[in-house]
Every structure is written in C-alpha cells, then in structure tokens.
C-alpha cells in the first residue's frame, strides 16, 4: 500500500470499519444498540465521503457528505430513538437463531461480492475503486440481516443499512450520483422512515407487538 496517498488509505480504513459494522449489526440482538451501530455506520460513511471529496477535489461530494451527516447520523437515528421510546421497546432483545451459521453465510456473501465487484472495479478510474467490493458486501450483509430478523424495527434498520451500502457503492465507483438524484434518494429515505413510523403504531395497535411472527396469515395459494 506504499504507493497509495494518505487519504486513499484512510478511505480503505473507513471502508473496513463499514464492513465490520455491517457484521456487528448482523449479530446485534438489542434494538437500541442496533440504532447506535447504524449511526456509527453513518459517521464512517460521511467521513469517508468527505475524505474522498477532499482528496479528489469533487466539490459536490462535500454536499453529499453533509447530507449523510444530517440524515443518517442525526435525523434518522433520532427518529428511531424516538420511535423506540414511544413504542417502549428499548430493552427488546431478539432471540437470534444460529449466529455462527449467519456469520458463515455472511463471509460467503463477502467473498461473492468481491468476486462480483472485481471486473467492475478493474474498469473504474477512481482512487476508491478497491472499496467497491466492500460496498457490495455491506449491501449483501444488510440484505441477509433483513432476511434473518423476525421483528419489524431491525428489518427496517437493515433496510436503511442497505441504503448506506448503496450510497457507499455510488461514492466508490463514480464519486457519487448527480446531485438531483442524491437529493431524491434522500427524500425517499426520509419519507419512507416517516411513513414507517406511522405504520409501526398501526402494527402495534393491531397485534400488540412488533414481532412479525404474528403476521403469517397470508400464504400463497389461499
């Protein structure tokens, strides 16, 4: 790594942290810690975007770094904390099945993502191209998290973490999407979160719980 400038090394470090956080989220049982991990992922994402902006002189990336901080470090975790307080699920612990198996599947997914990303990152001219595999891996891990969770809130956090991974992919492959698209995506995420907030209360009112195991009435073929 001697040839790499300092900022590129920093980005690689942050990418590694992002991946670690994705693994941590995969096995975290407590909802509250999950939100904090999500916020930490937001910090890593924002800092790395800002470093890319500084290192490559891409001015508009400062704006998206600021957007990341505002949305994913401040606003969304705050909304989630509020939601947890209001729903009173602060101490909810989820019984995870088979943590070692999940971890192993996660590792397989990481290997798969690196393989899939390899031909693409070969074509990329950005300094951050090595992190594309990590971005794809964190998308896959969040996906896995959504599949393995049985409660509504962790599923949503998995969904948001997946968006983090996608955002990171956009930064590492192309120095970010055009601003208008990025703003649109941010708006969608925010509106989605607000709608979900409303939705959680509806679910709770109806089922007295946010556990999705009550929700298996609708089956194919009936």
């Amino acid at each position: 790594m001697a040839g790499l400038p300092l900022y590129a090394q920093l980005i690689n470090l942050l990418a590694a942290i992002l991946l670690l956080l994705a693994f941590a989220m995969l096995t975290q049982r407590r909802v509250l810690s999950l939100v904090n991990l999500f916020a930490a992922q937001g910090v890593a994402l924002g800092v790395s975007t800002a470093i890319v902006a500084y290192g490559t002189g891409q001015g508009h990336l400062y704006a998206s770094a600021a957007l990341t901080f505002a949305l994913k470090v401040c606003l969304l975790p705050w909304l989630l904390h509020r939601l947890i307080r209001k729903l009173d699920v602060k101490w909810d612990v989820e019984g995870l099945i088979n943590v070692p198996t999940t971890m192993l599947i996660g590792i397989v997914l990481v290997v798969f993502s690196f393989n899939l990303a390899y031909p693409i990152s070969q074509l990329a001219s950005t300094v951050t191209r090595a992190t594309l595999g990590i971005a794809m891996a964190s998308v896959m891990l969040s996906f896995l998290m959504m599949i393995t969770r049985r409660k509504a809130l962790p599923q949503v956090i998995g969904f948001l973490a997946m968006e983090n991974g996608l955002f990171f992919a956009a930064t590492s492959a192309t120095y970010g999407m055009p601003m208008v698209v990025e703003l649109g995506i941010a708006l969608d995420v925010l509106v989605g979160m607000l709608i979900l907030g409303v939705f959680f209360f509806q679910i709770r009112e109806q089922f007295d719980s946010l556990d999705l195991k009550h929700m298996e009435k609708l089956k194919e073929g009936d």
Binding site: P119, V139, L166, A169, V181, L212, L218
Partner: protein, 492 residues
C-alpha cells in the same frame, strides 16, 4: 413544456388541496375533478405529440433551467401517460361511490378518506413523473416514491391482514427497488466514462446515443440488478409475493390502479433499461433473461389461479400472468412482438381495472371476497353481472376483445421464433381460462345472495373501459398504431 408541467402539477396540487379539504363531503368530487384536469392535460400533451412528434424539454435559461433535458416524451411513453391519466380519472369516478359505501359499511372513518384521497393523487403524480422523466435516477426515485405512497393505502383498513400485506409490500418492494438503485449506479458508472460526470450521464436520450459504446460487462451486471429490482414491482415470479396480498387487502380502487397502472410503469422502466443494455451487449442476454422470467411468471401464475378462493387474489394472480406474457413478448423482441406487447399493456390495463371495479362492488354486495359466497350477481344487478362476465371473457383472451388480438400476435411470433415456449404459453392460457371462468361463472349466474348497496355504484367506467378494449380488438386508431410501431422499432 406547459403540458408536462400541467400533467405533473395538477395531481401534486390536488394532493395538497385534498389534505386541506380533508373530511368534507366534497372531497371525493374534488378528487374526480383533479383527476379529470390531469387527464385533460395528458390529452393536451398527447395532441401536442401527435402534431409535433417526440418532445424533449430544452430550457436554456430562466428560473426553470434546472429542468433542462429532464423530461422526454416519445412514442413509447406518450400512450402510457395518456393511459395512466385516463385510468386514474375513471378510477376516481369509481372510487367516489365505492368509498362512500365502504364508509357506510363501517370499514373506514372519514379521517382516513383524507389520507386516501391525497395519497391517491400523490401516487398518480409519482407514476407520471416516472413515465415522463428523462433521467434514469429520477425514474428510480419516482418508482420508490410510488411504493411509499401506496403502503399506507394498502393498510387503509387497518385490519391485521391488510397491515401484513402492506408490510410485505413495503419490505419486498423496498428491497427490490434497492437492487434497482444498485443497477442505476452501475449504469451511471458505465455512462460517466463516455458522457462525463454530472447530470448528463443519466439522461436516457444521451445514454441512447452512446449505448453502443457502453462497457458491456458492467451493463450486463447492471441489467440483472435492474431487472430484479423493477421486476419485483412488475410482479415477476419469483418476486411476486407482495402482489396478491396487496391487491386483496387494500381498497379496490387501489387494487385497480396497482394492477392497471403501477405494474405497467415498472415494466416500462425495465424496457427502457433493456434498450440500453441490448445496444451495448449485442447478445441475447437481456432477451433471454426477460423471456425466462416472463415465461416462469405465466406458468406459475396459471398454476396458482385454480387454488384461489378470494376473488381479488384471483385477479391479482391473473395480473402476474399477463405481466409475464408482456415481459416474454418484450423479451422476444422484433416489430410484431413489441407491437403486441405494447397493445397488451394497454388492453390489460383497461380490462383489469374494469374487472376490479365490478369485483369491488360485487364484494360489497355479498359482504365477502370469498368467491364461493358470491352468487347470482346478474339477477340482483344486471349491469354489475354483465360487466364482470364480459370483463372476464375479455381478460381471458376471447375474441373480439383487444386482449385476443395481442395474445394472438404474441403466440404467432412465439411459434415462429421461440417454438419451444409455445406449448407452455398455450397450456398456461388454457389453464387460466379453465380456472378463472369456472370460478367467475357461478358468481355471476345462479341464486342471488346479494344485498342492496346504500349508494348507487358508478358502472360507467366499467363499460367505457370494456368498449375501448373491444374497439382496440377491432380497430386501432392510426396514430396509436403508428406509436406502437415506432416504439416497437425503438425497443428493437
């Protein structure tokens, strides 16, 4: 330009207005009026395109400069815009008495109607943005927004089943659409090398110009993600799980616009992507994928049709089947198959929404959506019964309705170009006919169990839709046929 702003502005302003109007009794009428204005604007836009040809918005200065090159109307999306605005309008007419009856039956409070009306308009707006935009990124944003606006509509009744359906809808479509975002990022990544960074590299018109030089490896990976992503919204098997639940548990007007419009818009996104990928790859990769997914959807949906007990689920699976047929036809490609696919998009949308209109009232009359308990519609209300039976015959591909014409063209092309697929298609169509007709026939004829409805249902939209489908089976207006031909050439 002014027409495009009107088409998008009316539903957006209407949504805000309906929030303000809230629970007052005029709200449903205002909803119809706003939908009518949107439709009128869409007609004006269509007329403009008939006169002037394809339209790319170019604004070099002024306050609207940020919209430069952002909207694009060609022969492929113009008829979909008109269709979306039209079905949006007729569904608003249908929903006026329908929602009032629901309210009288105690399934809804007046407060929820405020949510329903404003979300309905917002949903129309997002679909029109998705159709009119020239920017593949904005297309994604609009598709996601369309999901978000309908989540709360699906759970409008707040029953356990409707909440479950809405949750499934949100999570599955959310995950799907995230895959599509990744595909869009990859598309941008490939395009940025040729077109430079910035907004230009996601504009469809620019991408179309350089599609031959886009990096094939990246585009083939991108297409897989885009097809899976938008395909979830189209309801392609095995990503269709949300669709029957959302259709069965949401209010019927929402089922009608989901089936009639949203699936079309999602498929439109897939086809736009396919044009680019095909231009870059020069192989049959994209075609094979689409044919595979399409055929699988047709076969699986046809097999599941006979197991349905709920009438709205039955027709939801029928939508999966028809979307499969259209995807398969686009996958085959060529002038005839594309023409037929575009025609099928139009007639399926009209027929399926008409069927949902009749099914909604039939369920209200019988107090249930279970087919075994709905009997003798034709004796208690002939208009409703005839509407349902004619709509069912139309959707099953009976001549002289338009669905017959498009399915016939698709089958003929399949026999010539993909003979291996024809037996699967024919068997599925036969199975679907047997399953659907044998279930709908006793609902329409026989001893009546139906109650009277407190408000007269609006049956006009049903017959207007069916008349249009009949017309398209016998005679396609020359300008529409010309659009289909041009779009078919464009899709390749």
């Amino acid at each position: 330009m002014i027409e495009i702003l009107a088409v998008l502005g009316f539903p957006l302003a209407g949504a805000a207005l309906l929030v303000v109007i809230g629970e007052r009794r005029v709200a449903p009428t205002v909803n119809v009026a706003v939908s009518f204005l949107t439709f009128a604007a869409a007609v004006a836009l269509t007329a403009r395109v008939i006169v002037d040809g394809p339209l790319l918005v170019v604004i070099t200065d002024g306050p609207l400069r940020f919209l430069d090159h952002q909207f694009f109307v060609d022969s492929f999306n113009v008829f979909l815009v008109a269709l979306t605005a039209f079905v949006g309008f007729t569904t608003a007419i249908f929903s006026r008495p329908y929602m009032r009856i629901e309210q009288e039956h105690g399934r809804l409070t007046a407060g929820r109607l405020r949510l329903y009306h404003s979300m309905y308009q917002l949903f129309n707006c997002t679909m029109l943005v998705a159709l009119l935009t020239n920017n593949m990124g904005i297309l994604w944003v609009a598709m996601e927004a369309a999901t978000l606006t309908t989540v709360l509509l699906v759970s409008l009744y707040r029953t356990p089943a409707s909440l479950e359906a809405a949750w499934k809808y949100f999570i599955l479509c959310g995950v799907g659409i995230a895959q599509a975002l990744f595909g869009t990022i990859l598309l941008y990544f490939a395009a940025e090398k040729l077109l430079g960074a910035g907004g230009g590299a996601l504009l469809w018109t620019e991408l179309d110009d350089v599609k031959g030089h886009l990096e094939p490896t990246v585009l083939s990976i991108a297409f897989v993600f885009l097809l899976v992503g938008y395909g979830t919204k189209v309801g392609l098997v095995p990503l269709h799980n949300w669709l029957p639940d959302a259709h069965a548990e949401g209010p019927t007007p929402v089922s009608a616009v989901l089936s009639g419009l949203l699936l079309n818009v999602a498929l439109y996104a897939v086809v736009r992507c396919k044009v680019l990928v095909e231009g870059s790859l020069h192989t049959t990769f994209a075609r094979d994928l689409m044919m595979g997914f399409g055929l699988l959807s047709v076969v699986v949906a046809a097999l599941l049709l006979s197991r349905q007990k709920d009438v709205k689920r039955l027709f939801a699976y029928s939508s999966v089947e028809h979307m499969g047929i259209i995807t398969f036809a686009f996958g085959m490609g060529g002038p005839v198959a594309n023409f037929a696919a575009l025609l099928h998009m139009t007639v399926h949308s009209l027929t399926k929404s008409a069927i949902f209109f009749t099914v909604g009232h039939a369920a209200q009359k019988s107090g249930t959506q279970i087919m075994d308990e709905i009997r003798g519609l034709i004796t208690s209300s002939p208009m409703l019964g005839w509407g349902l039976i004619l709509g069912t015959l139309a959707i099953l591909g009976m001549p002289p309705f338009g669905v017959f014409a498009s399915e016939f063209l698709i089958l003929v092309t399949a026999m010539a170009e993909q003979p291996w697929a024809t037996p699967f298609l024919l068997a599925s169509l036969g199975l679907a006919f047997a399953a659907v007709f044998s279930k709908v026939q006793p609902m329409v004829f026989g001893e009546s169990t139906a109650k009277r409805l407190p408000v007269r249902p609006a049956m006009i939209p049903v017959y207007i839709h069916l008349a249009l489908v009949l017309m398209l089976g016998l005679w396609i207006p020359p300008f529409l046929a010309e659009w289909y031909r041009q779009a078919a050439r464009l899709i390749g």
